[in-house]
Symmetry: D2
Subunit: 335 residues, 4 copies
């Protein structure tokens, strides 16, 4: 039984707490949140201890693993402290919005990077994972084109957006990680941003974007993003190769279809929002983390994957602003 602490009693902390409660080989031991009653309430629901002092997490000897669900600016500090205290860590994405901070984190945990998993939950979505596995197994031949259409139901409030790091770091980063998961080494990034929403434009941010990534293999991924979608959370992916393609369509709440006087085969709207759409992914992500900790192996995606997604988000931002294709150093490069 793996004893786990959760730092941060907000929405995503609650998701992980619930997953822990139903996991056969893990239990929620401690919830830490410096603000208000959140930690106490969440802990009580699952019979765990609570604290408003995050340091208790590091000093609790029964705690073997930590799930970091705090605001992004606190991630690096808490990851480093947890690892130094000998805990395994599952850190919600992104590790940080600053590449320099992520590099500090990597330096601080040097030699123990494999103790840290980064919460790119979509890799654990059954559909995405299945397509990645079937593609990797060669079913469609070498991957040539990956197309991701990813749209949020509605833009977050301007206050949130102002501190979000911009669309590429806040929203596209998930798709960049997914693309990297399929493509391997990315060598070029081209991005086109759209400013259709004046409020978001006023923040200097984009509300929609198209990003293309070229891999060293020659494959190209295209990501189409929008901050809003009338039909809900639009999450599609298509892998294309010389022998065929694999597609993931949107999920809806039921399989019921309506046929009426002027329309037919009508489905309901898409599952909305990420907690609903990726419910299974969160559970499977936690299961992977628990299994890796038990086995003493490196969970994946790890800190280097978190860094790689950030590098792509930085490059996309630069390309969207300059109109130029951004070339990334390859592992074969001297630099």
């Amino acid at each position: 039984m793996l004893h786990v602490a959760v730092i941060g009693a907000g929405r995503i902390g609650a998701v992980h707490a619930a997953s822990l409660a139903s996991h056969p080989r893990a239990r929620l031991a401690l919830v830490a949140d410096p603000v208000g009653e959140g930690a106490a309430r969440l802990a009580e629901r699952y019979g765990a201890r609570s604290t408003t002092d995050v340091a208790d997490v590091y000093s609790s000897t029964d705690v073997e693993a930590v799930i970091v669900c705090s605001p992004t600016t606190l991630h690096v500090e808490q990851v480093v402290a947890s690892v130094r205290a000998g805990k395994a860590v599952l850190c919600e994405k992104p590790v940080d919005v600053s590449l320099a901070r992520v590099d500090e984190c990597l330096a601080a945990v040097a030699g123990r990077e494999h103790r840290v998993m980064v919460g790119f939950n979509r890799r654990f979505d059954p559909g995405i994972a299945e397509i990645q596995a079937r593609t990797a197994a060669g079913e469609i031949g070498p991957l040539e084109q990956l197309t991701i259409i990813s749209r949020d139901p509605a833009a977050p409030p301007a206050a949130y957006l102002a501190g979000s790091g911009g669309i590429f770091h806040d929203m596209t980063v998930h798709d960049l990680d997914t693309a990297g998961y399929f493509l391997g080494e990315v060598v070029e990034v081209t991005a086109v941003g759209q400013q259709l929403d004046p409020e978001i434009a006023a923040l200097g941010d984009f509300d929609a974007a198209v990003v293309t990534l070229r891999a060293s293999s020659g494959a190209v991924a295209t990501i189409v993003n929008s901050r809003h979608c009338a039909s809900g959370y639009d999450q599609r992916l298509e892998a294309f190769g010389p022998r065929g393609s694999l597609r993931l369509e949107n999920l809806t709440t039921t399989s019921v279809r309506h046929h009426g006087a002027s329309t037919s085969d009508v489905a309901g709207p898409y599952l909305d929002f990420f907690l609903e759409r990726y419910a299974a992914a969160y559970r499977l992500e936690l299961d992977h983390f628990v299994s890796a900790v038990e086995a003493g192996t490196a969970p994946s995606p790890g800190l280097h994957d978190g860094r790689a997604a950030l590098v792509l988000a930085d490059a996309a931002t630069r390309s969207a602003r300059s109109g130029e294709r951004v070339t990334l150093p390859t592992t074969g490069d001297d630099g």
Copy 2:
């Protein structure tokens, strides 16, 4: 070039005239209709002759084949006269609603039955024909269950229904022929009629029905009928066997799907009505007829198929009224 006459310048006569006009190896030579200007108008459109005297069809030596599109009560007389005049015949369904009359027809053309094709157009629908061929080729193993859902967009006027012979002879007969096409010899018929529409009930007719047919092979076909369907012309078929199933879904006018605020993947209504849904079937039916006449082979379905569908419609009527399963004589029976 096969020279063809059309008897009856109504809606279905016009369909066949158009098919003839675009057929590379046939031409419309003569249109006959005793009533009004119909024949003249239709003939003019395609550069053919016209007459109000049907007997001209039989006496025209250039006419090699006749398509009978007159009211049902005239079919037998015109088929017989055409065959006796040495013409090949494509007769619209049904041959007649009276089994005795059909048997008279068979007797009258004895030895030349193979000169007559009956217009069960659905056998030529690309989807139905494909499923029948794949099933016959063994793709799903021996056919076990056939399910046909067949609903008209709206009931015809009461005046038409009063002379229609009832739902089983007027509407189900198409599905009975399709079922027979798949099942081979049918040995039992069970029917349940519904009287949901008081106007149709007042005529002693049913407006909806479920019919099951058992074949000597052990396979069972289920037909679900209704005289109305809000979404249009509902035409589905599923063949099921031990190794899988083949399904035909409804056709819609385009492949465009709408995704909106409260619904997703919305298609348009079904193709409506039979001239639209079975447009290809009418063309392919004519092509089969022309090819058979050219080759001197028997077109299919023929008069015996027309008779078989009528036997099934009679049996369904009896079962729906009595509540009893109706057993049909098999070819192995003495009688």
Copy 3:
């Protein structure tokens, strides 16, 4: 917190134990199974007590509710004993295969029938429940035709079939309950049985069947059953009315579709078998039971629903054997 005992530690007992474990307001208190180590093993997994003496269930004062998952022949005895001991009961279907025994059960619990729920889990399937609710709310107008296609992946072993009571009591009974849920009062039953599998025919049983039910409203339900289906557990339902139709398609494990050289839009096989297909239904069924017990209301479906499904299964058996439509007494009838 509702304390619940489970009688029977087999496959379905384990499903309910797991649902209890994850239910926020119920807990598994006791598992009883007279045979072997099953009860002990299941109880241990969820921290409950176990016993090989079923009488312990009735005498345990902390047990407020009982879930009866024993072999069918023991259901009536255990339901009656549980109710007499003051417990609420969720009894797996069928209550019994003998109408006389079910009537004995009803007599024995007279006045406390509302304490017993019968486990027709499909009523709680999100898709079926949604269609029933939308139909009941009038979305498609008055229900006219209900079509259920229901096929098991593969026939159970002959040993099981020999004691199953026949296809209508063992398999169709689920669809009969679903149909009754939509139709209300059923007044006529017509059934056609198929004996395609010689092993099953040797038992005097059918391996496939088509059943039609007529309701006093005039609506007709059609059930198409088979004991086997190459593509998995085939579970479809369509409600049709004057203003449209609502359809439930089969569920597959993911939304991934493959497009290859000779085929496109290829989905995986259907969810297989009932524990997977109706996983949500089992959870929602239990939740309904717990909520009803908490509120002191009658859970639904109850013993009278269990009896009604049995009456339909008896009638279907009679019709399939005799070839006659079976008329059922209506509530308006004297008898």
Copy 4:
């Protein structure tokens, strides 16, 4: 009855000849092809005259309109000669691969540009036309993102590719025209080319590409192209706006779906190739041309649309080679 000449008796000439034959208000008068027996054979099939001297087209006083289906390098010369001879012209795309040549053409027909239609047949595809019309009518709100996935079944032979002008001029040009049809004025082009096929790379050409176009409205179109697709001719389009989206899926030959032991809902491959997929579009394109000539109105798309698509293809080529976003002059610009 519009009398039409066809120049070029190849594959596409034959398509237009067949459309003319079945058009109620047009007839094929003359087929001209300097090479071999092609013109004679095609003319004979439809009862038209033929010539190996293209000048006969211009001098034939009964010819009112000309369809130019010759090799691309001859288009401009034949368009100009036809217009000067007073004929209306439908010119197959592209007008020319050189912008200078197209500008020469525009200069040569100055004042009579509206007599020339350019054969961007996809605009007449029922699905694309429907989405364009519904989008233009505001059904999804102002267009924000257009996504076109367009893949050919297989690359043409290297000999053809060598003279094709490259992927953007030969293949993407169709999608560029479609995108322009939806977007209106395009102000920026970004392209990423892929060289996965060494044979095509050896020609200095790309075999796959992703192009993004930004409109002055702020909308962005993304085009994903490949020279090959295992499943056939992959032709999809999605228009996305604030109130929903409209999607066109691939068309397959029938609506039959197979459900088997390891897969379900299996469709056949896509319609393959453009003559099959866009059969209706070719007929509707011709009908638009005939109607415009009859009415004396300007058919659309015209020469300026042909020029605009070429400008986009030039820009995409430049962007793919340089890695830079290409900005186009807007109508508001001085230049």
